[in-house]
Every structure is written in C-alpha cells, then in structure tokens.
C-alpha cells in the first residue's frame, strides 16, 4: 500500500521532471530520434538493396562461349559436367540462332539483322551456355572451372560487379553503424545532461530530502522515470517517422527510379520497433542512472 502510494507519487514527480526541463527534454528526444532514424533508415535501405540484388538475375550469370568446332555430343557432355559442379547452379544451352534473336530484340529496329537470321552462315555469334549461380561466393572458382573445359573458348560474367555492389552495401552499413555509435554516444551525453541539469536544478532539494530522511531509492526513482519516459517517447516518435519515411519517401524514390521493388513495412515493423525501444530505454536508463548515481555518491 505504502509502496504503491510512493510509486504513484514518484511517477508523478518523474513526469513533472520531463516538463519542468522542457528544452532539454526536447533536445534529448531530438537527438535520440535522429539516432534511431539514421540507424533505421540505413538499415532498411541496405536491406532493400540486398533484397533487390538477389533478384537481379542477369548479374548472377556466367556466359560461356562454345568452340564452333564442338559436336553435339561434346556439348551434351559439357552441360552435364558443368551441372555436376554444384547443385546451386542451372545451365542453359543457347544456340547461336537464339542468341541472334535475343540480340535483335535488344537492339530494336535501327540495325537490320534480318539477313543474318536468314542465312545461318552469316551469324557472327557463337553458341553459348548460360550458367546461373545463386551466390557470388565461389563464383570465381566456378568461372575458372568452366573456362578450363575443353571446347570453351571464353566466358563473360559480372562477378566483379556483384562483389563491388556487395562491398558498397557493406560499406554503407559500416557508415551507418559508425554514425549510429557516435550518435548513440551523443544521445547518451545529451540525456545525461538533461538528467544532470535536473539533478543540479534540484540539488538543494535533494540535499534537503536527505536531511528529512528520504532514501536513495525515493530520490533516484523520479530521475529514472524521467529517463524512461524520454527514451520511450523518442522510440514511438522515431517509429512513426520511420514508418512514414519508409512507406512514402523511400518507396517513392525506389519506384520512380525503377530501381527495384521494396518489401512492405510490415515485414520489418517488429524489428524496427523493438530496436528503437531498446535504444531508447538503454539510453534513458543508463544516462539517468549514471548522472544521478554519480551525484549521490559525491
């Protein structure tokens, strides 16, 4: 009963604290929200990039040119050989006629390829295999393997590009993590500050409290609650903004650039929410805990 009474009194004091020091509370919330949004946005963008990369089939392809001198049996055997290399790949035989037709489609009307289609001997293209693989890892080895087969004159692939894109998205994530770390530190400082200012503003009050027999718990609780409120509120706000940013802004950009598709927010909503709340509570509790503890132990 006494405990409950005290709890509500102290909860009230914590809420009062948030408003009493409104400029600083605003600052804390601002910084925390920034921190969360930067993490969230970078994370979601990188995720979108990765999702899309996996869908861009043309990147995960090796085209192998077959020696014109190879016989049909040779070709059949080669196809088997390549297929047995790994279960993760599919091999398609594209003869030179199909190749030319595809080229014609791609080039459009301005180049007249009709005559080459009519007379097979004029077709400059070789027969090819198109080998689809699922992950860039090991693709280099696969490429070497194919290249060394008899009757394969050459291969073409974009493995380097895939790797570059991967590295770039990792780099982006690294920047996000660094930015986040720094901002989290800043957020911690700012909240510490806010709480510390609160403690300072009330240091005479705290001193007197101790003289009339208030326990440390009684003194600390309002500040902890202040930190928790700031953290939680920031998380909610950031979640709302992130939702808007994702469903409106990012999706819009992706769509208008035709860069790819983007997963609905719902898929990651829980992770984002939990992450934000985690950051908020962590920052709020740690910061207020540290600043008041240090003061009381003085």
């Amino acid at each position: 009963m006494k405990f409950v009474r005290n709890f509500f009194y102290l909860l009230g004091q914590g809420i009062v604290g948030v408003f009493r020091n409104s400029v600083m509370s605003t600052a804390s919330i601002l910084v925390l929200v920034c921190c969360m949004l930067i993490v969230g946005t970078f994370g979601l963008v990188v995720k979108a990039i990765n999702d899309n990369l996996q869908r861009v089939d043309t990147l995960n392809v090796i085209v192998a040119y077959i020696n014109p001198a190879a016989t049909d049996e040779d070709i059949q055997k080669m196809k088997k050989d390549i297929e047995s290399y790994s279960t993760d790949i599919t091999v398609e035989y594209v003869d030179k006629k199909t190749g030319l037709e595809r080229l014609k489609e791609e080039m459009g009307s301005e180049i007249d390829l009709e005559m080459y289609l009519r007379d097979e001997r004029l077709n400059p293209l070789p027969d090819t295999f198109e080998i689809n693989f699922s992950s860039a890892e090991g693709a280099e080895a696969l490429n070497n393997y194919i290249n060394n087969l008899d009757n394969i004159t050459d291969t073409r692939h974009k493995i380097g590009l895939v790797e570059k894109v991967n590295t770039a998205s990792k780099g982006l994530m690294a920047i996000a993590v660094i930015l986040m770390g720094v901002l989290l530190l800043v957020a911690l400082f700012v909240i510490m500050n806010t709480i510390k200012l609160g403690v300072f503003a009330r240091r005479d009050e705290i001193a007197v409290m101790r003289y009339v027999g208030a326990t440390n718990t009684f003194i600390i609780t309002p500040f902890l609650i202040e930190g928790i409120i700031i953290g939680t509120f920031s998380a909610c706000l950031a979640y709302g903004i992130q939702y808007y940013l994702y469903t409106q802004v990012i999706s819009d950009i992706v769509r208008s650039y035709g860069i790819g598709t983007i997963a609905p927010f719902g898929e990651t909503a829980f992770v984002v929410g939990a992450g934000f709340l985690g950051i908020g509570l962590f920052a709020g509790i740690i910061a207020s805990g540290i600043s008041i503890k240090r003061y009381l132990s003085e």
Binding site: V208, Y211, G213
Partner: protein
C-alpha cells in the same frame, strides 16, 4: 537515550572539532548546548544526525550505533529526529505547506493524514495565512518557523535545533522556546544549540558548555558566563 563515549571528530582538513566528548542524554531530557563560535556545537549535532561520522569513540542514539552505521540506514536514523538548521534548509521550490508535508511524504504517510497534520503545525507556528508562499517570499524569522514546523510534524522522538532563534525577535524567540518546552513535556528529547544568554537563563534546564571541542561544564540552569 544518547551516549557519547570518548567521541572525537577531526575534519578532513585536520581541524579537531570535538575531542574526547563524554555525554549522556536521557530520553525526554531538555539540553542546551552553548559555547563560543567555532567551539564545535554544530559539529555535535551533525554527528547526531549522521551528516558527519565520529573519527574516534562511540556514539549511540536509541538503537543506532552511529560509529558504524551503514549509509543505507541513515535515512531511517533521520526519521527518528526533527532537525532545525542554522540555515533553515527549506525546499525553495515548494510552498510552506508542501515543505512541511514533505517530511510526511518521505515516510510514505497517507494523504489523508498529511492533510490533517500539516494545518495543525502551520497554526502552531502562526503561519496559516502564509501556507501558499514560497520560502523566498518569507522573512528570515518566518522561514525559521517553517523549519520548526517541519521538524515537529512527523512526531519524532527527538528534536535538535541549531540556533533556532538566531533570526527572530526576542518575543518570538520566547514563544518558540515555549513551544520546545511543551514538546519536551510530551516526552520528546530536545537539544538546543544557542547563543541567547537570556533564554538559557530564563529556562532552568541542563546546560552543556563546549569550548574548543571539549565539554567544560555540564550543569542545570544558567548560561556559563565565565566562559563566553
């Protein structure tokens, strides 16, 4: 019961504020502590309330052994005593009413009890009409009386007052002393640090005189003139 046994207190800077003090104050006693400026009177009250710790000897008040009391128990020690400080120590951002109520709030008292007790004590120190003022809207004497009311409101076993009449006129001084007398009659221990010769002379009570950190006289009635 309060017992000082060979108590000494040396401040970190080396000042020996109390030396080898032996003193026993029984429950329900009324004691004046007098002495020159810097003699060690305030230090003695600080020891009693656990603000400073003895650096030698033993000091017990009730069940609390102060020479080895853990920090976490100090709040509970302080709830057994009402203290009036030389510099008031009021909450500057709480009204007079809230200042007094806070001493009850800290011990988790029911709001209904708080609403009943605070006005009684406001009336006792003649500040009912200034209940909603903040401390810096009060004169020095008025602040001292608020401190008085706060010290008394949670019905402590012991009252310690450091220069409780330093800022009030002689008439009010006398009234506050009378109040302490009445409180004492209710069975509470009262310890008053003061310079006011007149008052000490009027109330024929036990007077402990400190000089340079040592007790040089301990007798009933009258300010120890030869010392100050």
């Amino acid at each position: 019961m309060i017992t000082f046994q060979n108590v000494s207190m040396v401040y970190p800077n080396g000042t020996a504020a109390l030396r080898n003090v032996n003193l026993q104050i029984n429950d329900g006693e009324f004691v004046f502590i007098v002495g020159k400026s810097g003699a060690g009177k305030t230090t003695l009250t600080k020891l009693l309330m656990g603000e400073e710790r003895v650096t030698g000897g033993q000091l017990h008040t009730g069940k609390f052994k102060l020479e080895k009391l853990s920090k976490r128990k100090i709040p509970y020690l302080r709830r057994t005593m009402g203290v009036v400080f030389q510099d008031f120590r009021l909450f500057s951002n709480k009204t007079v009413y809230e200042n007094i109520a806070f001493a009850l709030r800290v011990i988790g008292e029911k709001p209904s009890v708080i609403r009943k007790r605070v006005p009684v004590f406001l009336n006792l120190v003649e500040l009912t009409d200034k209940a909603d003022r903040f401390p810096d809207e009060l004169s020095g004497g008025e602040q001292q009386r608020v401190a008085f009311a706060r010290a008394l409101v949670n019905n402590p076993k012991m009252i310690i007052a450091d220069e409780p009449t330093g800022n009030v006129d002689p008439e009010m001084s006398k009234e506050l002393m009378d109040l302490l007398m009445r409180v004492n009659k209710l069975g509470k221990t009262v310890i008053v640090v003061t310079h006011e010769k007149d008052l000490v002379d009027i109330f024929k009570k036990r007077v402990v005189t400190i000089r340079d950190g040592e007790i040089v006289s301990d007798r009933a009635g009258g300010y120890a003139d030869e010392i100050c």
